[in-house]
Structures are given as C-alpha cells and as structure tokens.
Symmetry: C2
Subunit: 299 residues, 2 copies
C-alpha cells in the first residue's frame, strides 16, 4: 500500500512535468505585439496544478498502448480547457477570485481584457491541437476527440454547469440538482479525460463505457472532496480562499449531507470507481490509486 | 449590373435566413436551470447581421457542389465564432459597447457573467458542430475544418488581433502594422470562411489558394470600408456608435491614408479579389458581387 502510493505519486509528478513541457512547446513565446495574450495563456497554464485531468488522459491511453506524443497532446488540450475555465471563472463578473494556486489570478496579474482573451485563446488552441495531424494519424480519432471535448466543455457540459452554479446563488438546490450541476461543471471534463484514452486507442465500446463510469464516479468524488476541503481545508495548503461556499450561502454536498455522510459518499464512489476498471487488470492500478488519492488529498 | 445586384441581394438575404434557421436548430431552447446561457447564445446569434461570413462559406461550397446541409452547418459554425467574438469584444473590460446592430449588447441584455459564458459556449459549439458526423461523412474534412477555424480564431488569428488592437490604443501603428492587425482581427476569419467551401468540397490546392487570396483581399477591403463608415457613416444606419476610432485616437487605414486614398485602396482590393476567381467562371459571380458589395455598402 505504501509502495503503490509512492509509485502513484511519482507517476503523477512525472506526468505533470511532461504535460507542462508539452503545453510549453505548444504555446511558444513570441515577440510580436500580441505577445501579451500568449504570456497570459502561459501564465494561466504552465504553473502548477496536479494535472489530474491530463493524468487521466495519459493513463487511460496507456491501457491501449497509445503512443506518448498522441496522449500528451490530448492531455495538454484537456488541460488548456480546464485552465481557460479557471481564468474565466476567476473574473470579477464571475467568482471574483484574486488568488489561484497561491498566485495572483490571470486578470490580477495582467488585466481583465487580457484574461478574457487568454481564456478564449486557450479554449481555441485546445481544438487546434486535437485536430492537428500530429495528434493522431486517423482523422476520425481527431474529429471524435474534438466532438467529445466540445460536448463536455459547452453549454450542456462545463459552461452550462457554471451557469447553473451562478443560478444556484439565488436558488435552493437539492441533492439531485447539485449532482447534475457538478456533473456538468466538473464531471463532464473529467469523464472526457478518461474517455480520451479510449478514443485515441480505438477501444471497444465496453472499455470506453467502463472508463466513462469510472470517471463519472471519481468526478463526483472529486467534487465532494473539494466541498470538504472548502469546509475543513487550510487556505495556505489549498492555495485559494476556503469557506467561500458557506459565505456565499451556497448549497454543497457537505451542506446538504453533512460532513460525515459526505465523506462516506466520497469513499463509496472512490471504491465503486476502481471497481469499474476490473476488466483492465493490473494495467489500471494507477487509475485505481488516483480514485483513492482524489478523496484522500488534503489540498 | 442592376439585375446582378438585385440577384445578389436576394441570394444574400436567402442565405441569411437559412443560416439563422440552422443556428436556431443547432441551439434549441431548453427549460433546464442553465437555460439562461442558451438564451444568451441565441440572443447573440439569431438576430440579424448580413451573415457575410456564412455567405462566403455557402457560396464557396457551391463552387464544388457541396450539399447544402454540410455547407450550412459549416456556415453556422463560422457565424458562431463571429458572434462570440462580438459578445466578448463588447464587454466592459474590452470595447465597452452598449449597442450592437441597434440592440442592447449581450452583457446589457443579460449580465456580464452570462455574456462571458455565452461567448465561451458559442465558441465551443462551433467546434462541436464542425466535428459532428452530420457535417461531412469524411472525418478528414471535419478535422481539417476544425483545424482551419481554430487557427483563424486563436492567438495567431482573431484573438491575437484583438489583443493587438488593445495594444494599439497605447502605440502608434504604421500601415504595415495596421494591415497585420486587421488581417488577424477580421481577415483570418473571413479567409477561413471562403476556404471552408474548398475544404468541404475537397478542392485542389489551386482552387483553395485562389479562394484564400480572394478572401484575403475582401477582408482588407471590408476593414477599410468599416473605417470609412466609422468616419462617414450614419450611426442609425450602421447600428452602432460611429466616430469611436477617432475619439479613441486610434490609428486606422483612414487616419493614415486619408479618406480618398482609403476609398481607392478598398476599390482596388475589391477588383483584385474578383480577379482571383476567374478560374471558376460564372459560378463565382455572386462572390464577385460580394466583393463589390463590401466596399459599396452604407451600413
């Protein structure tokens, strides 16, 4: 158990480095007058983060023997979408956050206009990367990746979830509504990260469904863990303000279920997630470790 | 001349209606809690506009016998990107415009957060539409469309141009810099609109290059005409505030070249654009009319 955990931590750290290197290579510095937007894109995406979504892409891709350049390009594309969503969510008109991963948010470091544009450009770049021949020799794979990511990120996925989140500030949500909100806001992007490997590897429907079910469960577990951190976490460790949900009087899994039941629910989902991966045997051990990590993390 | 002009006006109007119908079908109303973002996407894209970019898509597609559903879906995707860019450009942190096509801008009608999200979702939807099998049976065509649109819209295209435009408020630009700025900010999306038909129709490199050259010229002519309208236009007709560039002390083609030389330049580009289409014969008559229309329009 101790060994598998340290193996997992090593793999997670190595993946984060490789993904950062890929992002760096995909968004080179320029000295043209529009360089500011590239600087902001890099600022918003190169520094830190555990790169959980990219890890899902590369680990699911590894199940099917996908080559590492393909997997890392797809991983970088998913991370670009994640980072764009953070930049826009942090804007004054949205969540109005000054701090992210312990650093000034993009619109504080640059300015609002640049942050809006950097988010737009990161989102656009994600699709450019996926559609480029370097990502996969089979154009159907590339088109499928674009389609799956766009669905997960758009008005019926992440953006819709963020809209619903703003709506939730004025409305009392029940557990079913919060589950749907979180499935859209964060779950769909997590799910498509795990599915990306199956798309890249032209996996069977069965394998793709198993990864989807796994990702669905860890997505929800991830969110419950996030809500728990917001209540119990240390702002210095978490790298952003905590207690914000309660201050905003927002319903969360924790406010609806209570701390103990929320923690049980997260643990149950984590175990259930790992169960979906039985068909892959030992090859999926790191993905199973990830399911554990997600509910046990302290930041 | 009179007849070809009225034929052109009819074709432009019919195309606008078909594109609006397609946009309507691609973004159906919902009654879920996130409906607000869909309402805002529809508000920002269904009302009006001459639909010049979609017209370029459908007319260039017609040169190669592309079926109308494919062409209209690609046309709608390009228009979604155009409309998202208007929504974000109008935001308080950017150009801070209250009026667009004679109507309240999206953030005035809804609110800033919703406008940011609606723009994000329109951009995302464009790629979803292009990547979907309904757009073309050949996945390579779909991936190529995504790649071309993403390049035209991203940090080396439209978004980079908008960044450069903000930079230009503090810097004096010469004609070469303005030309590059406008090529990125508006020209690249116009160029990809005309190229989309060639991609859909799997046209020869020669045909694609001819359409690119045509679109490059009309893109610049379009911008010069826009600058002329900003100086000479009637705000009621144009549907937005005029005289803004001069108020902002922004260099434009007109401020650098003077009105007469700018008008000559636009006319020359329009004629040159039509010349690039000789290889298509009469089939390209409407595209040639469009080149004329762009420099002669009064709004």
């Amino acid at each position: 158990m101790k060994d598998s955990n340290s193996e997992f931590q090593t793999a997670l750290g190595e993946n984060a480095k490789q993904v950062t290197d890929m992002l760096d290579a995909l968004m080179p510095l320029t000295d043209t007058p529009e360089a500011r937007v590239v600087d902001a894109m890099r600022y918003a995406s190169l520094a830190g983060g555990k790169r959980v979504r990219p890890f899902l892409v590369t680990q699911s891709a590894a199940l099917f023997g996908v080559d590492s350049t393909s997997a890392l390009r797809a991983a970088a594309a998913v991370e670009m979408v994640h980072c764009y969503s953070l930049v826009h969510d942090d804007l004054p008109a949205m969540d109005n956050d000054d701090l992210r991963r312990g650093q000034p948010t993009c619109h504080i470091k640059f300015d609002e206009a640049t942050a809006i544009l950097a988010g737009d450009a990161l989102l656009t770049k994600a699709f450019e990367v996926l559609a480029a021949p370097q990502t996969h020799s089979d154009a159907r794979v590339r088109a499928d990746l674009v389609l799956a990511l766009a669905k997960a990120a758009g008005d019926h996925g992440m953006v819709g979830g963020q809209m619903m989140d703003l709506w939730a500030e004025q409305n009392d949500l029940n557990v079913a509504q919060i589950t749907r909100l979180q499935r859209m806001k964060t779950g769909d992007l997590i799910a498509v990260s795990a599915e990306a490997g199956a798309i890249l590897g032209k996996a069977s429907e069965e394998a793709r469904s198993a990864l989807h079910a796994y990702a669905h469960d860890i997505g929800l577990a991830f969110q419950i863990a996030d809500d728990l951190l917001d209540v119990e976490g240390d702002a210095a460790l978490v790298g952003k303000a905590t207690g914000k949900d309660a201050d905003a009087n927002k319903a969360t899994f924790v406010s609806l279920l209570g701390v103990d039941k929320a923690r049980q629910q997260a643990a149950m989902l984590s175990e259930q997630a790992a169960g979906h991966l039985e068909m892959f045997g030992e090859k999926a051990d790191l993905l199973k470790e990830l399911a554990r990590f997600i509910v046990e993390r302290r930041a």
